[in-house]
Symmetry: C2
Subunit: 326 residues, 2 copies
DNA sequence: GCGTCCGTAGGAAGCGCTTTCATGTGATGA
DNA sequence: TCATCACATGAAAGCGCTTCCTACGGACGC
């Protein structure tokens, strides 16, 4: 079932079929009708490979995740896919996590898409520069601007400041930040904001390195809470750490929200259902994905040639784990 | 940068370059070395469209989700992507949720992949039959067997029976099942198993229709718990409903696990962190995805031509929401 | 020493589409 | 009435690759 069959059936040339189908050049109404009728009868759908080869386009976008675990990424993907497909593009996903050669995988992916979205620290900067230099539109999400690539991120600074101030209002004195600010600019920003917010009230928080999963949260929190100078607030770099910390606090018999305040970041589903419910910061995940797709599309279609850098607001979500509210 | 450039550089014909690169026919060692050197120097990577057109293959798999929300699907996708890429295939995702014409989207997708995985009720049976009749390998996940398609699912029957018996052991008498068994065979299976498990102890549960989200869970549970014949156990078709039900119980001052038992299904992250922690059934999500990729691959490569139907075991995860354990 | 065969390599024909270029048609103006 | 032109259309040339078919040597057997 090729364009030749359709052409034969409609009694026209293949060029006319192509033109009638994609409207790239005027076709007489009667002819177009014949072509469309033939297409309908034969159930013709153009071969993607043929189109892609001749038109030098893929009608597909890629998106690269460090891993896909957790609700964070699923939401981003959902927003991305929805918008991309509305713009007529398929979506190819790639998770670099646990892959032996992420760079090569990304390069391969780059060959079959018209543009690429990269989340976080999936590949080194020089690879991104290589891709953009090659002419491939690239959007980075949750990662600092790099080269000619566009960028989309959630601005955590003001929410982090608000969180710091809010905690100060609860009367906390010894605040520990759990996470690794040096590993990610986003986390560094959170740390900075919290520090500023607390600083206004004369409180100087400390950083305790912690991996971004629940088990690490439990381990590090347990260690902190058993120490000499027990913190009265644990500000965690994400919700997983915070949920793990809540378990640790319960373990040693401390009341979360009373003896120790614990906060997270992301507002995953479990945050709302934890008891006490977790005070955290909500990120517009789905919007992040949708925006990335849009920004990318502008580049692909050539509607824009200068880099665009978007920053979305985040919201402090106050619940009970930071202390009781009247 | 095409195969012609490489051929010229290496001083051979393009056919030889192709053979050297894909090993489809013997090439003298010296020649192969020259070709590989040229490829290396020129940084040549074969055009995907060209390959795909000539070789009549896409080196890509599709996966179709009803939607991507929730940890369930993210995990499936993760397992799928990991295995598919290990098998040398890219992954195209499609979420039918909120789409005006899912069938057409799936048909489009079918044109650019070598095989397709369909999750749940994304498209009607006749579309699947059409696709398989067309010769496209299809695997359905969490959906009853259909036509010539392979299938992969989690077997919930024994876990559901175990759940029913466990609840009976807690001494519950009036059990309500929240969900819509008629809408999904998987849920029907859960209902059947629970009913059988309880039936052994002379308890006859009832079904209360409920959508599969948290808000519906809260609403339906609130209504049930305020009724005349207040149930002392709410068996929910998934964790979201159950988490919503916990909120409803708290709202009316009932102690979950004491005054009323509540159970879920899926073991999402929030289930573990809810208080009381949710008794639920764990599904091997990631394995489900990985298995689907494998089953699909066998068909694509032609290693198997008869349908394969896999069923994975699920585990009852007993926590506190069904009652206190010593 | 000559014919045969195998291993190797190149030419060329597609794969299904888009697009350029050339052509034919009827309508228009002089 | 004839040249001109806009419009519609078809033929054909790619797009970059795979693979069939053919051809060329050199090694082998007789």
């Amino acid at each position: 079932m090729t364009i030749y069959d359709v052409a034969a059936r409609a009694g026209v040339g293949i060029a006319t079929v192509s033109r009638a189908l994609r409207g790239s050049a005027p076709v007489a109404d009667a002819t177009r009708a014949k072509v469309l009728a033939a297409v309908e009868e034969l159930g013709f759908r153009p071969s993607h490979a043929g189109t892609s080869l001749a038109a030098r386009t893929h009608a597909a976008n890629g998106i690269v995740f460090p891993d896909l675990s957790g609700p964070y990424y699923a939401e981003v993907l959902l927003g991305y896919e929805e918008t991309a497909s509305r713009l007529g593009r398929s979506v190819l996903v790639l998770a670099t996590h646990g892959r032996d050669d992420p760079v090569s995988s990304v390069r391969d992916l780059a060959l079959r898409v018209d543009g690429l979205v990269l989340l976080g620290r999936t590949v080194p900067d020089h690879v991104i520069e290589e891709l953009t230099a090659f002419g491939l539109p690239v959007v980075v999400v949750a990662r600092p601007e790099v080269g000619a690539a566009d960028s989309v991120r959630a601005d955590g600074l003001s929410a982090a400041r608000a969180l710091g101030e809010h905690l100060a209002g609860h009367g906390v004195r010894r605040v520990a930040f759990l996470g690794a600010p040096e590993e990610s600019p986003d986390v560094a920003e959170r740390w900075r904001g919290v520090r500023e917010g607390l600083g206004k009230h004369g409180i100087e928080p400390t950083v305790t390195p912690c991996l971004f999963d629940e088990a690490s949260g439990t381990r590090v929190a347990a260690w902190l809470l058993a120490g000499e100078e027990r913190p009265d607030a644990l500000v965690c770099a994400n919700d997983e750490i915070a949920l793990g910390a809540i378990l640790a606090a319960e373990e040693v018999g401390l009341r979360v929200g009373v003896d120790v305040a614990i906060t997270g970041w992301d507002d995953v589903m479990a945050a709302r259902h934890a008891r006490p419910a977790l005070t955290t910061v909500r990120q517009p995940m789905r919007t992040l994905g949708a925006l990335a797709a849009e920004v990318l599309d502008q580049r692909i279609t050539g509607h824009r040639t200068t880099p665009r850098h978007e920053s979305l607001a985040t919201d402090l979500v106050v619940r009970d784990s930071c202390g009781t509210h009247p």
